[in-house]
Amino acid sequence: MSCRRKLAFSLVLSLTSLASPMRAQDWVHAGTNLGNAKIRIAAADFKPATTDPQTPTLKAVFDATLFNDLTNAGLFDMVSKSFSPQASPGSPQEINLAQWAADPANAAMVAFGSLSVANGRIQVYGWLFDTHNTVNPQILGKQYNEVASEEMARTIAHRFADEIIYRLGGGINGIAETKIYFISSRSGSKEVWAMDYDGQNQHQITHLGTISISPRVSPDNTRIAFASLESKGWAIRMYSLEIGRMVTFPGGATGGANQSPSWAPEGNRIAFSSSRSGDPEIWVANLDGSNMHRITFFAGPDVAPTWNPKTGTQIAWVSGRTGLPQIYIMDQEGANIQRMTDGGYAVSPSWSPNGQFLTFSWNRKYGPGAPGGQDIYIMDIASKRWLQLTHDAGNNDFPSWSPDGRHIVFQRKLGTHTEIWTMLSDGTQQQQLTHGGTNMMPNWSWK
């Protein structure tokens, strides 16, 4: 069994173990790595190989980013910097593996190398060694050469981290180079923003001066679909990341509220909610606006479609047809409707990259005067068994899976502040990515 299958299997197992009597219990410790000991890994500070004045700054950025990426991966038991040997081995000849294998580091793996800056270029040599294999310790050896800048120092660290994660994490691509798109009101109006997966490099994408919400990036990372309030109402709009400006989505502004777009995994179709028929329903259209057709037919709100990214043939969405909103799934033609949640207030589904799970926001005790909290849950689609990931911490909404399926980004409102957080898909390692202003509706890029 490959590591990947093992991960998925153990997650299913942990969900399966939540037999019905346990449902009432809020706090359950379960996760993607139960029964799998995490690999203990050390990331040595890289050796500065030149005396260029930029070297110390770029090295500091590189070292911090690499350590952070490996920590964030959720696969490793990281050796803290204070437990690491003082050495900065710059090459395989300079490393003393026994030193890293011994207490207190106890590392099974060590990442090390050198960083130099010369003539405006940054050069990095990086290795990953198995500390217990003294005969043939090298697992990975990489070389990078880029324009010298903090941004590129970070990018190289992301690439090296992703190589390590790919090699040790069962052949699933790392996410260190992925982006998160979100809505921020920092400029004074709600606009689309982007940031690196770790919260670095936050920057504004749109400058429309109205209210924009629900950004969703295309599977090939070339476009962002979102909804904007125009003079005639809400329209689905598109921004091209390639040419850096708005592009058209014909039919996206027709009649009434058009909102909550979602990309089919092939990137050629959009599903969204539109009230053009007189009631908010789910519609699907090609990217050029052709073949616009309606797939739901019930009175009441139907919103927030999300495609099964594995098959591209199913859609999960939110419907208020029975009163409070619930999560449903259906075929992309609108047939075979299945209700997934059994009550409360369930919204904002996101489908896991492997097609097996949904994550969504659920207030199971919703009602006038009810003390329920709005939390992030995941559900195994086949069994409808669910697991609560956030507890007793504000109102949580808009979860979005990372492309490796190991992480979830979401919005958390504490008091009056809404900020963006990430966590592992078992609810651990929660960390806040944005600070200040209102930051909401995160969407993790597909790659």
Binding site: I213, G233, G256, S275, D279, P301, V347, S348
Partner: protein
């Protein structure tokens, strides 16, 4: 009324001045005309009517005139005109049209007065209330239960009052905004707001208001009327709000 009088004075003055200027020209003509032998030409006769004689600002008035034995006809403020004719004018203030006809046998004149009434909006007795304020006072918002978009019984009464005002003011077009409280998802609330605004629109249409006069926008929880996390505030924000479509 005072305004009409004030207006009338300059108009009359203008007419007098113009008349004097015309008379000067006219008085020189007869001095020459008296020289030829008198051919017993009858003096011209004229008739001038303005219909209707009372209009609202911006409306049209038809001036029609007939002359007999006249060769040269002019209307003050319009200039030379055919001896018999019809002309459409749009006076912005009350005006006295003054026609002078000259012929070999002398001259004649006629007048027709058009009274321009002020527009009704300005004539509303409470001068302090703008059209917007009057709309707000008469067309009231309706409120909804939580997570619901059906019209409550208290909202039925409000909507029928709203509809009667709109029926009496057929020129007003409206926007209905759908609003939700802060709880729950932004996307779901946007759809719910749409349902609320559409429900209010449907009620007005059923009460006889033309659907073409009504535009609907959902604001979800984007534009709250208040921001406290209390049931009183939430109720304020669960509404269909009416405003004039400018």
């Amino acid at each position: 009324m005072t305004r009409n009088k004030l207006v009338f004075v300059p108009v009359a003055l203008f007419a007098v001045l113009f008349g004097v200027a015309g008379c000067k020209k006219k008085s020189s003509a007869p001095t020459e005309a008296t020289a030829p032998p008198a051919t017993a030409s009858p003096a011209p006769t004229v008739q001038l009517t303005a219909t209707p004689s009372t209009i609202a600002a911006g409306d049209q008035v038809t001036l029609s005139w007939k002359t007999v034995d006249a060769t040269d006809v002019s209307i003050d403020g319009i200039g030379k005109v055919p001896t018999t004719g019809v002309k459409t004018v749009i006076p912005s203030e009350s005006t006295t049209y003054h026609l002078v006809a000259q012929g070999p046998g002398g001259s004649a004149e006629a007048t027709a007065r058009v009274v321009v009434t002020t527009p009704p909006a300005v004539a509303v007795p409470t001068n302090t209330m703008t059209a917007e304020e009057e709309f707000k006072a008469n067309v009231q918002d309706v409120f909804f239960d939580y997570d619901a978009y059906d019209i409550r019984s208290d909202a039925q009464a409000t909507l029928s009052h709203d509809a009667s005002y709109l029926a009496a003011h057929p020129n007003i077009k409206i926007v209905i905004g759908g609003y939700c409280d802060e709880r729950g998802s932004d996307e779901y609330n946007l759809a719910l707001g749409q349902n609320r605004a559409d429900a209010a629109k449907k009620a007005l249409v059923e009460a006889g208001i033309a659907a073409t006069r009504i535009r609907v926008i959902s604001y979800g929880k984007e534009k709250p009327f208040c921001t406290e996390s209390t049931e009183a505030c939430w109720q304020q924000n669960r509404r269909a709000g009416f405003s004039i479509d400018q």
